[in-house]
Symmetry: D2
Subunit: 358 residues, 4 copies
């Protein structure tokens, strides 16, 4: 099921970076949902924006719906869509199946698929394959919005430049509104220049840098999720680790909660009018795998993109000898800004799936 | 499927802390595997050892196999086992369904199950329910061993006392051997006392403290796993976040990889004789969701157990007013040492499942 | 997942005929359902009744609940139960792994499990393993009843003695009431003696005979189910073919619909007050995989039990030569009457699962 | 998961009869399989052949592969393909959402999807949606062929004209070869005219007729499959009942086995050289859910297509009154001949899936 995800809704993803098209199929959506096509395009533009730090490869990312939508509304049958690949320079990638790029999937994939995988541009392992996820996530967001649920993320850090967590600052409406309008989604505007400078430092030397994205889901009522194998954390983490380059996922205080005492880590309850709220949110809105009504908050670590211009040590699989590789092609020096809508899409789809089965 | 896990093998878990019995069912195991019952008992003792920092509740944890084993070997049919509950003092837990304990699942569970969940001792949310996972993991380890795969974990930190990661030190055979013999599984023996002292600090004040467990799986060949939704990271994280108290999972360098440059983060390849190895293991043995032959290494954040003796703020669900709660009952001041075999079990089952479908 | 079934609720089955115990685990049941234990016992007695035509093996079939029930109500966590095996005469089955019984699973199982399967009494392939299914089905029936849904089956034929189908006679309340009280569940009382005589004919010569069971599910509203891979027919058939000895499943008119014209086969609609009803029910209440509000009606073919006393031709797997086998042990000459509650249980669980995800 | 199928390989289906395109996604195929595109086209032509008895709607059924194939071979990533819809006359279907056609999914679908389903031409319920299944099945057949497994079906009956079952005649190579070359796939050539005449009888009066398709899978070794919930019968039946119009599935002798004695029904074993064979195949090659090495043989009942030209009684959903409907549009008077490759495709995919997980 590596390309098919989900339990109560399902999502199939397909495509290779330099193949004919990429796309997706979403099954078991509710019928009668009006689709906002502009909103989908907005999300795709967020994922595909051009900036100094991103790849010059320019894909229009024009999606075509093939089924599941009639008169602008979901029919309840599988919703499918494709995005055709256009701007491909496959020659750039010629030798990558022989001298695998360190940090990329080239070598493990060649072992798994006996060399038959489409290695051009990373093939099915390309970050490009997250575009269908963004389309599906945009639809999920629209359905969640009808239930009062909002999903938004921000760049918490780039390299060593780090902002403040929602867990510590709380979430204010203005911040959320700003974040949604920005292409470079930093909550604390004062840090924007420092983060840009951090990226430029690595870009200028043909190198790359990673960062941390924090995401919040507000409006999820208490009592959603399950203990054990389908905990909200399990479901979200499984989806988030599907995104290429994610190497860590943590909820609420995450790893830092290990240095708090139990008394300090516990989120005390109180009534706010009729509503039960927590005074802190160290647990990221989830206890025993089930939501407690506080915002669901998590962080994901995005590693520096492995495509760097410098010569790197590798092996030559045909001659079975040590070798070097220089990665040509077009690539980002920091994918964190473009990964923000991808993380949001992953969260939106997952929360929708959990809610549909709750 | 909250209580049923897996794809190529399946594992069902059942039981409540103060019910009749807890247990598990493992389906689709290979037939003809000789079961080492002593090894299962050894793992249960690791999970259930008594120390100053652990609960005085003494369960023998005697398991009984009901099916799936004949003449000491697996039959290929569902293997099932139970562990009867004995030493239960349910009266300690009487009011917890009215004044939910902060940091516990009491409140979300009462919402989800409309108050019908068995709240005694945490019910199905109790850490006790990890005992069946340890039994299943012990069997998985035995099967993996036949394929040259070893799974072992160590306490990387307790509160603010932190040791060194396998990613930085590498893995040496002596360390592994020592770890397996120790109840308090710290790789760097010099840190043992400091960690014990850290626990004692919190225990003496009726408080608790968490920590980080790092786990390694050695011997997994390159080419195992999948891109996207069934990446090795996705599968492991989903299982690890099933363990109560886990709030973070990271692979290789994890969150710290976000501060490395791409050049430094990439794990360069070289030949070691006929074998392709990586010079570093910042990616924790996984690229594009697929193993690269290096040890699979990950860390899990274990939050401080929420059961503390101090009075805590909460709400009274019957009178709908703010209230306080004092948690009586018997509890650990640090569950990290006992969680080590649980993390190993989770990893062993997951890797076995992935291998069976590869 | 051979021993684990379901999507919105899940059911794991375990046990071997001559092992320690058989049992089951049901996950994702709604919380707060009051369990009627007498009703479960009633269903088990129907499956296990003693008559001239049935095995003299007398199992009390006393079940013990281990988890998932508190204060007589479901907790929402996995409900598990076991039935211990007692009256086993394993010596009767000694050579069956060497000279496989024709018509039994002995030979295919020995190939699949490399000879490690527990062959005593048929092991995991024994009809005895349907007892846990009956327990789970009894619980499913109780939940369905709260929604106005009733599940009942009758013996449509024994050998060449055949009664009338619900599709042709319609379903009248008195018939249903009678069926539920009878151990030998024949709708047309006039046929009872003829069917008994048919069984006796085969029993007296040490042979066996099969029959057809027809089942109806009333009260399912229109609009339940799915097209294609999760059609109501697909889901029911998959579960029904799990029952050992079932070799055919058909809905409504079934195979006979192939000799009707389209005009005659179509079930015309009309209003009955506010309710849309069909004038006939040739399609068994399902169109395009989705219920149309008419009773869901299906038939299952139960083959003659392969355990006969006569000498049969087989092979000797150790000497690799043709051989003969005489099946000793205790066995039924007709399992159709005892299979009635098993078919009902299969239907009840499946319909409950579909409804929970609709 | 109504539009997504499978366990070890997965298949997602999408499309509506009068939408933009129909198609499919196959995940987890082995890498490096050379795809025979002509063979796929051959299967599509078999499904879409024109004859007196079939719809004049002429779709070229030209498929386009979008991913998963590189240099003519599978890459191991999701293989996706689309078939664009062209020849649609949607006006023919205008009122079907108000006056549902008896025997069609119109009414149950309008309830399930609250009237938002794309009802034009039957939408997602159209037989046209089986074209992607045929494409996927053609690929599955190619992979099975490499393992010596062959899948073929024949028209066993049309209305009351009935041929002989493979269970009674055995399977001879010439018959198989003939069947594969024929568009009207009747094993006994003498019956062809009588069957054609039977169809013509119903076609001439604007009516329709059904029939039975029998399918065999040869070359499956003994020991494939599982007991209980994933029996070979369960898996095949679940897939077969996904095909619109299938109302019955039976294995081997099927329902007729209920009139045989156990002694006669049991398939005696003997050695044929080194190989264990059965003297008869009343059980259709499956015992206890597992193959026994004999050909897997099953029959499917195909109901008469509900689209008939005659006026039929129905209801008017808007005025809530009884009404009549005349189905215009273009339709087949017998879909049995065109369903033959669909049944084969369903069998091929299922057997491939089972084998990949065995």
């Amino acid at each position: 099921m590596s390309d098919i995800w989900g339990k109560n809704i399902q999502f199939a993803i397909f495509g290779e970076s330099h193949g004919t098209a990429i796309g997706g199929v979403i099954s078991s959506l509710p019928a009668g949902i009006e689709i906002d096509f502009d909103a989908i395009n907005h999300e795709l533009r967020r994922r595909n924006h051009r900036a100094a730090y991103s790849t010059p490869r320019a894909e229009a990312d024009a999606f075509e719906f093939l089924s599941g939508v009639y008169d602008g509304k979901t029919t309840g049958s599988a919703l499918s869509f494709i995005i055709r690949n256009q701007d491909t320079k496959s020659s750039d990638y010629k030798n990558l199946n022989v001298t695998p790029r360190p940090g990329h999937a080239d070598y493990p994939a060649s072992v798994k698929y006996d060399g038959f995988n489409d290695y051009r541009g990373g093939g099915h392992f390309s970050g490009r394959i997250t575009a269908p996820l963004v389309v599906a996530g945009a639809i999920a967001k629209q359905i969640l919005k009808l239930q009062g649920i909002d999903v938004f993320a921000h760049i918490l850090s780039i390299g060593s430049v780090k902002g403040k967590s929602f867990v510590d600052t709380g979430i204010c409406d203005d911040t959320v509104k700003n974040l949604k309008e920005k292409i470079f989604a930093v909550a604390d505007a004062d840090l924007e220049n420092a983060m840009m400078a951090e990226i430029e430092k690595y870009r200028s030397e043909g190198n790359s840098i990673g960062g941390i994205i924090e995401c919040a889901v507000t409006g999820v009522p208490a009592g959603v999720g399950n203990p054990f194998f389908e905990s909200v954390e399990s479901r979200l983490a499984a989806m988030l680790f599907s995104i290429p380059a994610v190497k860590g996922v943590e909820f609420g205080k995450g790893f830092d909660i290990t240095t708090l005492s139990g008394y300090d880590a516990n989120d005390a309850y109180r009534y706010d009018g009729d509503k039960i709220v927590t005074e802190t949110n160290n647990n990221g809105g989830i206890l025993g795998g089930i939501t407690n009504g506080a915002p669901v908050i998590f962080k994901t670590a995005i590693k520096p993109t492995p495509s760097v211009s410098m010569e790197q040590k590798t092996v030559d699989l045909s001659s079975k000898a040590d070798a070097t590789v220089e990665v040509k092609g077009r690539h980002d020096s920091c994918i964190v800004p473009r990964a923000v809508p991808v993380v949001e899409a992953a969260a939106a789809l997952t929360i929708l799936d959990i809610l549909r089965g709750n």
